[in-house]
Assembly symmetry: C3
Homo-oligomer: 397 residues x 3
Amino acid sequence: MKSVVNLVLLVGLSAVTLAADKDLKVGWADKVVIASEDGTIRLEIGGRIHNDWAFMGSDQAIQDPFGNLEDGVEFRRARIHIGGELYRHTEFRIQYDFSSGEAEARDVYLGFKDIPVLGGVRIGQFKEPFGLEELTSSNDIPFMERSLMNALAPSRQTGIMLHNSGAGDALNWAGGVFRESDDTGTGTGDNNYSLTGRISGSPWYADEGRRLLHLGFSASYRSVDDQVVRFSTRPEAHLAPTFLDTGLIGADSYQLQGVEGAVQLGSFSLQSELSRASVDRLAGSGADFQGFYLQGSFVLTGEHRSYKRSSGAFGTVKPRNNFMNGSGGLGAWETSIRFSRLDLNDQEIVGGIQEDITLGLNWYLHPNLRIMWNYVHADLESVGDADIFQMRFQVNF
Amino acid sequence: MKSVVNLVLLVGLSAVTLAADKDLKVGWADKVVIASEDGTIRLEIGGRIHNDWAFMGSDQAIQDPFGNLEDGVEFRRARIHIGGELYRHTEFRIQYDFSSGEAEARDVYLGFKDIPVLGGVRIGQFKEPFGLEELTSSNDIPFMERSLMNALAPSRQTGIMLHNSGAGDALNWAGGVFRESDDTGTGTGDNNYSLTGRISGSPWYADEGRRLLHLGFSASYRSVDDQVVRFSTRPEAHLAPTFLDTGLIGADSYQLQGVEGAVQLGSFSLQSELSRASVDRLAGSGADFQGFYLQGSFVLTGEHRSYKRSSGAFGTVKPRNNFMNGSGGLGAWETSIRFSRLDLNDQEIVGGIQEDITLGLNWYLHPNLRIMWNYVHADLESVGDADIFQMRFQVNF
Amino acid sequence: MKSVVNLVLLVGLSAVTLAADKDLKVGWADKVVIASEDGTIRLEIGGRIHNDWAFMGSDQAIQDPFGNLEDGVEFRRARIHIGGELYRHTEFRIQYDFSSGEAEARDVYLGFKDIPVLGGVRIGQFKEPFGLEELTSSNDIPFMERSLMNALAPSRQTGIMLHNSGAGDALNWAGGVFRESDDTGTGTGDNNYSLTGRISGSPWYADEGRRLLHLGFSASYRSVDDQVVRFSTRPEAHLAPTFLDTGLIGADSYQLQGVEGAVQLGSFSLQSELSRASVDRLAGSGADFQGFYLQGSFVLTGEHRSYKRSSGAFGTVKPRNNFMNGSGGLGAWETSIRFSRLDLNDQEIVGGIQEDITLGLNWYLHPNLRIMWNYVHADLESVGDADIFQMRFQVNF
C-alpha cells in the first residue's frame, strides 16, 4: 500500500516534499484512533460537550448574601483534543476547552513512556497526582460535579512528573514538581513551586475489575509566591454562585493531604475521600481546613464502573445492551448518592461550613452519550439551604 | 481488516486498552467524511474561512453621527467543526468560531434522529427554527451578509427542539423551547425562555429541485428575563458601524412572526421574507417593528441554487464546469440583487428606517471556494446615504 | 473501493445526501496527511506545543526600571491547524494559536497555486515576505526566540501576495499589498496599507542542500493610518519584560529594508541579517533604527539544517539515528551561538540599545520532538545586564 500513497502525494506535490513515510489506519474505539501498522504512530482526535441545565431555589437566608439563585443553561465543558504516541516512547496531548469563550488549556503536555529507569516522564500542563475523584475524568464521575472537598485539590498545573503509569499493576505512584499556572498554563514567580505525589493501588482486584478494593494517599507541599492563598467552592452546581470562600489568606506555603478508598462489588461501588489543607500563615498560627465525601453508586442494569488499574482511577460505565446499536437494550442506568462536607472555618477565618446531599440518575445510552439528572440539597451552616435540580447532556469521544 | 487494526493498536499499547472496534473509511464529499462500513459511525471534520475586504464612503450626514466609514479587512468567520452520527440514532456537532479572538460557540449540540414518535430531538446551541434566510448557511447565501430584516431573527440560542428533519419531504416542521444565551451558550434567568416554531415546505418541486416553490411561516414567543430588549443592525456590511438601533426597550416579552417564499425556475430564483417583532413594553403601549427583503439570483453558467428539501433551506450553487479540476469550465458565476428594508421606528422609539439595495457577483470556483463581490447602497431615512463595496474570499469544507 | 464507501454513507444517510466522491488515504509524513489517489485533494491536520521554562537574574540597574525578573513557565505557542490543497490549484490553511487564552489567527489564508502567468497568489493573513529569520518557522529556528532585530520585521498581516513558490529554484520572489491587522486578522483605516517584497535565492546549492549559499533582500513601504508607529522587544526571552521600546512615534509612514545571507557547509552553518527602519515622522526629521545578528550552528551528530529552496528559508534538523524508533542513535544534537544588536535610539527618541549573546543546545529526539536549552546574556546599554536561562519542550506535527 505504501507505494500508492507515495504516488498520490507526489502527484499533488507542492514545493514542500510530501512523501508519506507510513500508511495510517483509522479505527473507532469509542473515539477516533489513527495508527500505523508497525505501531510507531498512534493518534487520537476527540472532544466532549457537557450541556447543563439547572433549576434552583433557596430560602431567604441564602438569597440575602448570594442573591436569587437563577435557573440557567451553559456548556460546562466544550473541548477538543488531539494527542497520541509518536515512535512508541513519546506521547503528547493538546486539549483546549472553549466553553468560557476563552481558549483554556486543559491537558497540554508531552512526555516519555517506558523509559528504562525513570518509567514515564510528563512535562507541561496536566493534573497534579492528587485524589481519586480529581483524577477520574469529568466524563466518568457519577455526578455532574465533583464534591465540595474538591476545593482542596490542586487540579491542573504546569510541571514535570515522574510516574509508573503503563507499568503499574497493583501499585501506582506519581510525583512531580509544579508551578501554579493559570488557564493558559502560565505561572511566574521565583518562589512558585509545589511538590505533589500520590501512591495508590488495588490490593484486591478480581473478575477483571468487577470486584476490587482501591486505596490511595496523596500529599502536596505548596510554596506560595504571591503570599496569598484562597479556597472556595460552589455548591456542587456550576451555575450557582460561590457559597464557601476563605478570602485571601496571607501565607508562605501550605500542605495538602488526601486519603482515598473505594470498594466495588459488581454493580455496587462505594467511594470515599478525606482531604486536609494546612496553611502556614504569615501572621497568626496555622489554619487547617478539611473536607470529605462518601458516595455510593449502583448500576441498575448490571454493568459496573470500569477501573483503570494502570492509573488508579475509575473510568466510565460501559452499557452492555444498547438500543442505539440495535442490541435490544436500553443502555445502562446508574443511581448514585453522595454526602459531602467542607469546613473552611478555622482561627478567625470564616470561609463557611457546608454539607451537601446529592442524588443522581445517569443514563448511558451508548459509550459516547450520557444523560445525567442530579438533585443537590446544600446546607450552608448558620446561613440556610438551597435546592438545585440540574441535568447534563454529555457527548464525549 | 479488523484483526490488523487490533494488532497495530495492541503493539503501540499503553495502559489504556485500545482495541479498535471498527475500521473507519475516509472519504471526500466536498468535506472530509469518516465512516464505518456498517454505517453506525459517521464523522465529519471541517471548517470555513470568510476573509472580507471592504471599501466605504458616505456623505457628511452619515459621518456626523457614525464617524468616517473606514475601509478594512477582517475574518468575518473562521470556524472549525467536528460532528457526525454515532450508532445511527444520535448526532452531535461541535463548531467554534475564532474570528473575533474569542472562542464563540456556533452549532454545539447533540441530538437523536429517527426516533419513533418524536422524530428528531436536538439539545444544545443551534439556530432557532425561524426564517429561510437565517436557516440558509452563511456559506450559501447569495450575498455577503443577510438582509437588514435579519435583525429580527433569533439565530442561535440554547434549547431543546423537536423536528421532522430527515423524514420531511414536502413539509417540514420544527419547534422548541430556548433560553437566550450568549456566544458561549450561557443563558441565565428564571424567566428566560422562548418558544419558537417553523413550518415550511415545497408544494411544487420538480426536476430534482431545479424548479420549485417554497413557502414557510415562523413564529416565536420570547419572555425577557432582564426586562430589556434591543434590535439593531449594521448596513449589510460587517465592517461598517451599526446604523439602526432601538436602544434598550423595557419589556416583559415580545413576539416574532415571519413569512417566507421562494420560487426557483432553473438558474433563476426569487426569494422574499417579511418579519415583524411585537414588543410588550413595561410602560406605554406595544411597539411593532418590521422588515422585509426581495432578492433575485441568476446563475449565468446554467447551474441552480441547491435546495435541501428535508430542512426547507437553500444550499450552495454547485459549479458544473470547474477549471480547477480540469473539466474545461470556469466554475459557476451568479449575479444577484436584493432590496431590503427595516423599520425600527414606532411610538416614541426612533431606531431608524433604512433601505438597502445590494448588487452581488459570485464566483464558485469549485465546491469549496467562492469569491464574492457586493455593492451596497444604504439609505438611512432622514439621515443620509452610504456606499459600500466589499469582497469576500471564502473557503469551506 | 468507491462503491463501498458510497454504500456506507447511504446507510447512515441523513437529510443531507452524503455520497463520498473520492476515497481518501491517510499517511504519516512527519505529520498527518490525508489525500485522494488522484492527487486532487490533499489535507493536513497538525499542531505544535512549545512549553517554556525560564530562570532569570539581573543586576539592580535592570531591576530599577523593569522590576525583578521572575522565573516562570508558559506555553509559548499552542497551535492547531488544518489546511491543504483542493483540486490541485487552490490551497488553504486555518491555524490558530491558543497559548494566550485568546484565539489568535496565525496562518489563515487561501490561495491559488501554479497559475499560468501570476505563479501563486495568496489572500488572507500570513507572514509578509520579509527576512530569513522571520520566514523560518518557530519550529525550526535554532534558538528559542528570534533575534532582537526581529522587532523590525512585519511578521503576519492581512494581504494579497504574488509569489513564485513551487516554481522557484535558484531564485525566489514574493511581493504583496497588506493591511496591518491585529491578532484576529482585523485591520481598518483608509490609509492602512503596506507594500512588501523579498527576493532571495541560493546561487550555490550542492549535495541536496548540505552545502549552500543563501542571499536575500527585503523591503517594505508602510503607510500608517493612525499616525503612530512603535518598535519594542523583549530580551530574546518571552517571559522577560520588554527592555527596548521607542514609545509611540508620530509618523505618516515608514520603510523597512533587510539584507540576509547564510552559508551552510554540512553540519556547520553561518547566518546573518541586517535590518533597518526609516520613519517619516510628522514632526522633526526622519528617525532611523537598525539591528543585526550573526549566528552559527553546528550539528554535533553530523546532520544539517534542511533548506527549502522553493521558499528560501531553513527547515528543521532531521535526526538520522533516532533512539525513539530503535535505530540505535540518540537523535541529533545541535549547538548554536548568536550575537544580536538592536539600536532604537535616534534623534531625541531613546528606545534603547541592546546587545545579546545567546548560547543554545538543541536535542532533536525525532522529527516531531525537540528539547532546547538557551542561555541569554543581555546587555542593555547605559542600564545594566540580565542573564536568562530557558528551556523549551517542543512537539510539532
